[in-house]
């Protein structure tokens, strides 16, 4: 346990000193502020761009528009997060910085679990930051009550955790950043392709990142996500166990 805490601390120090934390927090904060502001000024912006004499009636912006921006931009933020953290396993393997740690008796499982924990922690904090900023500005600029706000962001959080575990698996499998990115990208693509089959949609983890707006508009209820959530949790568990087992057998 002490080794786990020490190594997790090291992971976080590393993120801070190699500017990963700064990039993530800056990007997430920026998007957090932009979401409600874009939603607010979008209609004015559009009407100012229209040729004179032409009138288009645009609906008054609402809180819903702000959250629409939030979930739309989140996919970009997830991609940035994965790119920034894709090297956490790969770099240590390619630079052999792990040799000193492992020959000190640090269990390989601890290495992976520490990396998973620290990446998840940073993802959680980043998402919270972005969520809180968007929430605050939205309440101020575009007041309005919406259902399932917390649950909807929880779904997205869980999807992010799934991607983190896939990213770690990719790093373990290939030992380089490209492998890690390729596996994460391929996995997301696979989920999107599976989503074409309507029968599979409610089981697909992809729902957690695509159905968020339906929760806010009450088109879907929280219960509709239960299969997807269960499947995602099981996937995270299996992917992590797989990554641990492969890492245990990897020549370093």
């Amino acid at each position: 346990m002490r080794a786990f805490i020490a190594f997790t601390k090291k992971e976080i120090t590393e993120s801070a000193r190699t500017y990963k934390l700064l990039i993530i927090f800056a990007v997430f904060l920026l998007f957090g502020m932009l979401n409600p502001i874009t939603a607010k000024i979008m209609p004015e912006l559009l009407s100012s761009l229209l040729p004179e004499g032409m009138t288009v009636t645009l609906a008054e912006p609402s809180a819903l528009d702000s959250w629409k921006q939030f979930y739309k931009n989140m996919s970009t933020q997830l991609i940035i997060f994965v790119i920034v953290f894709s090297g956490v396993v790969a770099n240590e393997l390619s630079k052999s910085t792990l040799i000193n740690m492992l020959t000190k008796g640090l269990p390989r499982k601890t290495v992976m679990l520490s990396k998973f924990t620290s990446a998840t922690l940073i993802w959680t904090l980043g998402l919270l930051l972005c969520f809180a900023t968007t929430y605050g500005y939205t309440v101020y600029l575009l007041p309005g009550k919406l259902p399932n706000i917390i649950f909807s962001v929880f779904c997205l959080w869980l999807f992010g955790v799934l991607l983190i575990s896939v990213m770690l698996l990719g790093g373990v499998l290939f030992g380089n950043i490209y492998g890690s990115l390729l596996v994460t990208g391929g996995f997301s693509l696979l989920l999107m392709l599976l989503n074409i089959a309507p029968k599979l949609q409610k089981y697909n983890p992809y729902l957690l990142s695509s159905g968020n707006m339906s929760l806010l508009t009450s088109d879907m209820a929280a219960a509709d996500f239960s299969f997807s959530i269960v499947i995602t949790c099981i996937s995270i568990l299996f992917i992590l166990i797989g990554a641990l087992m492969i890492f245990d057998k990897k020549a370093i």
Partner: protein, 271 residues
């Protein structure tokens, strides 16, 4: 008692056999010179001892415990210095050693004391900057410090001097000599003069097999030769010896005038 013993070890990468039925034991409190050309299999053997590589067959025991691949249990007896040690460049040496100490399970206070002691042993106590800016020699010294942190029974050094300048080499060898007695050292290298300087036991690995194994003095005695080297204070003496030899009808097969070696000159010039 042997600290490390290796029994009929084999390792092949695909078709290529790197280690062929290797068997040897390292006695306690020795400096064991592990010699071989580049590619002889020294690093491969060491990585198998550390459980970082999977042997094709054979067994390895450290302090009586069998090493199993992928696990790190036996590594608590071992300190390892890789040939090119890699550190987290964003850390300072003290932070790095504290991390290493916490991983081995030493308590925080003991780690700090021990780290400070080791940093002064390897001469890095004043280098309070990030490791990213260290020279190769400094990294090598920090490597020794981290390897000695858990007071290992067995210290494995993979070519610790190969990449260093003559002074750096001498310093590293001195540090290794100074910890002799507290720990057994396995020292791989292809620099023979380093071995003569500090090792008491020598094994030579060639094409994955041991071709020579024994204490340095034993090995030297077993190959007593008809060669000798003389040094004189004046050229005159040299001439007289040669004429004396001629008078006795002794003809040496080879007479050579020695020049100062580059190493002597270098060491003198940069002193």
């Amino acid at each position: 008692m042997s600290i490390l013993s290796i029994q009929s070890l084999n390792k092949s990468f695909g078709e290529h056999n790197v280690i062929n039925d290797l068997t040897f034991a390292v006695p306690e409190n020795t400096i064991y010179g592990f010699l071989g050309q580049n590619g002889a299999g020294k690093t491969t053997t060491m990585k198998m001892v550390l459980g970082l590589l999977k042997p094709t067959s054979g067994s390895i025991t450290v302090c009586g415990e069998t090493v199993s691949y992928g696990e790190t249990k036996t590594n608590r007896y071992i300190g390892f210095l890789p040939d090119v040690p890699e550190f987290y460049g964003y850390m300072k040496p003290m932070e790095y050693l504290v991390l290493c100490g916490e991983i081995t399970g030493l308590d925080r206070k003991a780690v700090k004391l021990k780290s400070a002691e080791l940093l002064s042993l390897v001469g890095l106590d004043k280098a309070n900057k990030r490791i990213g800016g260290f020279s190769r020699g400094m990294k090598q010294r920090l490597g020794i410090a981290q390897a000695l942190l858990n007071e290992p029974k067995l210290l494995i050094c993979d070519e610790p001097t190969s990449a260093l300048d003559p002074i750096g080499r001498k310093e590293i060898l001195d540090i290794l000599l100074s910890v002799k007695g507290k720990t057994t050292i396995v020292f791989s290298t292809h620099i023979l003069s380093d071995v003569e300087r500090i090792c008491d036991h020598v094994a030579v690995l060639h094409q994955g097999k041991l071709v020579l194994n024994g204490t340095l003095s034993e090995l030297k005695q077993s190959r007593q030769q008809e060669k000798m080297r003389m040094e004189f204070d004046s050229i005159n003496d040299k001439e007289r010896i040669l004429s004396a030899l001629a008078a006795q009808n002794i003809v040496p097969t080879k007479v050579e005038t020695l020049e100062p070696s580059l190493e002597d000159l270098f060491l003198e010039a940069v002193k």
